[in-house]
Every structure is written in C-alpha cells, then in structure tokens.
Symmetry: C2
Subunit: 276 residues, 2 copies
Amino acid sequence: ADSVAKYGGIGVLLRSITTKYDNNPHTGVVFYADKVERVPAVAVGYLDSDFLRQALIEDPELEVNFKLNSKWFPDAQSYNVIGEITGTKYPDEIITVGGHIDSWDLGVGANDDATGCIQSMEVLDLFKRLNIAPQRTIRCVLFINEENGSRGANAYAQFADSSLQKTIAAMEADAGSGSPRDFSVDSDSLTINKIKSWIPVLSETGILRVRKGGSGADVGGIKSAIARIGYGPDGQRYFDYHHSDNDQFSIIHPREFELGSAAMATLIYMIDQEGL
Amino acid sequence: ADSVAKYGGIGVLLRSITTKYDNNPHTGVVFYADKVERVPAVAVGYLDSDFLRQALIEDPELEVNFKLNSKWFPDAQSYNVIGEITGTKYPDEIITVGGHIDSWDLGVGANDDATGCIQSMEVLDLFKRLNIAPQRTIRCVLFINEENGSRGANAYAQFADSSLQKTIAAMEADAGSGSPRDFSVDSDSLTINKIKSWIPVLSETGILRVRKGGSGADVGGIKSAIARIGYGPDGQRYFDYHHSDNDQFSIIHPREFELGSAAMATLIYMIDQEGL
C-alpha cells in the first residue's frame, strides 16, 4: 500500500496471501511511510481474485469500485490477564509463559491465538495436576492488543524490566496449534546450548530442535529476561487459517494441541529445576 | 481374537482403535495361534461402541447379534509396478523407493498408501524435472498385497537379493502424508552416521532427525541392501484415517505431501552422489 500510494495509486486490491485455495480473504495491517497519503487496501479471496484477473484480461477497461467501512476508534482501557504459581524456593525468579487474547474480526481466533493462551494456562495446570510445586514462580500472561500495536506486551515488558523480580525466561506460544517441532531461543550461546542439552527429554513431546532465533511479538521486548523463547509447532497449515474466517475451533487437532502444552510445560519444568 | 477364542468366546466386538471420535470403524487383520478355533471379529465405531456400552450397563442381559460376510477368495495373479531411471555411471547399483498400491475396502486408501506411491513416483519425476541424470539407477517399486501377506514385497526382496545388481538403499513411504519429520534407517552405525551428516541439507524439507530403526513392511525384507530406510512424516493424524472411510483424498495437505516427495528425493540424491 505504501508503494501504491507513493506512485499515485488510489487503492489496493491484493490477492489474499494464504496457501488455501478458497474464497476466504485474510485481514491484517498495512504500513505507510510518514509522508505518504494513505489509500484504502483490501485483501480479496483466491477465487474472487482469479475471477477479477480473468475479467480484467477480457476487458482491460474494467472499472472496480470498492468501499471500506473500517476505521480507528478512540483508545479504550484494556488489560493483560495474569495468573501465577508462586515459587517455593526462588519466588522472585519469574518464568513467564503466554499468548495473546485479542484476534481479528474474521474467524474466532482459534489458532491465532486462543491456542497459545490455553496452552500457556495448561502449563500451570499441568504443574498442579502433577502435584509439582515449582521452585521458581511460573507466571501465565495473556497479552492484550498483540495484533494492533502490542500495547499489552509493551506494558508488561516495561513492568518486568523495571521490577525487582528477575525474569529468568519468557516463553510465547503464537504460531498455531500444529504438532510440536522446535523452540527458538533468543539468548546467549551458552544458554541456548544448555537448552539444547534437554532435547532428549523434550523429544518425548515431539520437539526435535532448539535453535537460535526470535521469540515473538509478545515476549521479545522483555530485555531483562535471560532467555526469550518461542514455541514452534509445525507451521505448514498456519496460513491456511491465519486472520481469516477459516480460523475456527474445528481446525484444532486435539492431540497436536495437547502435545504443545506438554512440550511447553516440559521445557519450563527443566528451566525451573536447573535455572538458566 | 486369539485370547477370546482360547477362553471360549464366540466372537469379538472391538471399539475401533483410532484417535478420531466419530463413527467410522477401521478394518485390519487378526491373528490366531495355530490350534485356536477362529471366531468372528469386528471393529465398531466410537459412537456405536459408546452406545453399546451404555446399553449393556442399563441391561446386563443384552444380547447382540452380528453377521460377517467377509471371506477368503482363491489367490489371483497380480503384479508389482516398477519403473526406473538407469544410472549413468553405476547402472547396476540400485536405489529403490516405493509404497504399496493395495488398500482396504473402506475409504480409498489415500493416506495408506496412495500418498507413498505418488511420492515415490515424484522422486523420479523430480530428477527428470531438474534435469539430474543420476549416477546410480533409481527404481520406483509399487508393491502389491502389502495389507494382506506382503507377497509383492516378498517377491521383490527375493528378486533383489538374488540379483547380480546391488541394492544400495531401499526406501519406503508408508506412514501417511504428514509434514516431514525424520528417516528411520536399518543399517550399520557408520552408514547411519553418514546419513545423519546430511541432516543440514535434509532439514530444508523439514527433516530434523535420522534415527536407527525399522524401515517398513515393503522394503524391510531386502536383506542385501546396505540401508533399508523408512520415510517418517508427522504421524499424529495417521490413525484418524487409517483403514477407515476417513482415508479420502480430501485429507491430504498438498504442501505437507509435496515436502515429503522433496525430502525423499533429497536423501536419494545424496545417496546417489556419495554412495553408502
């Protein structure tokens, strides 16, 4: 949209960026350079895009009208949702785990990111069900406003980085409900190698790799954390659903989803027991 | 069924062994010790099983009648289907890749094992499309009668083991169309470590692990092969479909399926270039 506007275009119709050949457009955000006038931009479903393309080939003089009713509303107060199990030995050492509770208006946000929220809550629930009292405080944070400014993440990061408590690790689940694959870790190489040494344990849940990499929008800003960690499920189907009406609860595979909770809980258990 | 018959039972109704909570029973085989009289055995769908269980709780005197019409037909002649690209440098060194072309009467056998057959054919097709003339002969074998006696596999193994040609590797794809995970290799540790050293290349297609393990029913009997290899896709959904009416083409995810072909072709390319 930025380039279109810069060169005098009056609007953008974009073929929806998804791998699923259906007619469900996705939504999302566009970015503009400061001095560029903003133009309306919409994503169009695959089938409609193909229809439009063919119609344009048959009639190069084709005119398209489109009308958007989206708008910015004034800011409103909202909140992160936080729960924790207080550590028995090091209550001021915090391991956070979370997802984001906002989603787009299309679909119900099952995969992005109800999944991550529930998996994060299940980490704490698994500790309780297995009667494990963690040494460190395990804190579940459901972040608000990830999709449109990350204000919940920013507010939490500011709080955590100025707290007298110490964030040992901050884990995020925001990559869908696929089968567990890996964890990406944003930390120094010694810490990453320590986590890598736990792969034989983690592999019981399907995790075959720990790699250096970004964590995610919700915890990436917590600079004081020793490690920022992203949970990485298999992502081949993620953009079949992402930000579209396909993102419904029916697409969640219960076992793949539950293995994700188990993978996250296992890594957090190791961090709790051994520290970082 | 063997135990039921041994203790005087007159038949078996088994809750279908699947992870999917629907009413599609699976089929399969039962085994009996030599001297045990055979009794009828059927799998019942989840929903019907739950209904029967509840009915039995409410009325312990409940009688159930069931009638099977399955039977053994006389043997009929059938064939493996074989195609190959002849090697330019070592035409008598064979790398086989295959799946099985038979399936059960429920479903259409999309995941078990049309997927493995097409992926095996695609390995050869990828060599052709990329204009790679392999040094060794790449042979695609579609095995008949895997589900009920493995006679096609046995016949091929007998042929391969008595041939003047040398089977370098025999790869099988018979674990569904999920996202690529690993290869299991039945060979000596030196060979397995050589294949492991290619993981950085294989990981481009999603393969994160090479492990010592069985290959599969179709190629496991080729004793003369230096390595017998099983392609291992993610299996969490496999028993949602296995041997049931759920095994339809609609459950194949095109990209996960194609990544499988790419993974198999990549490993076979490495074996062709470097030998084992």
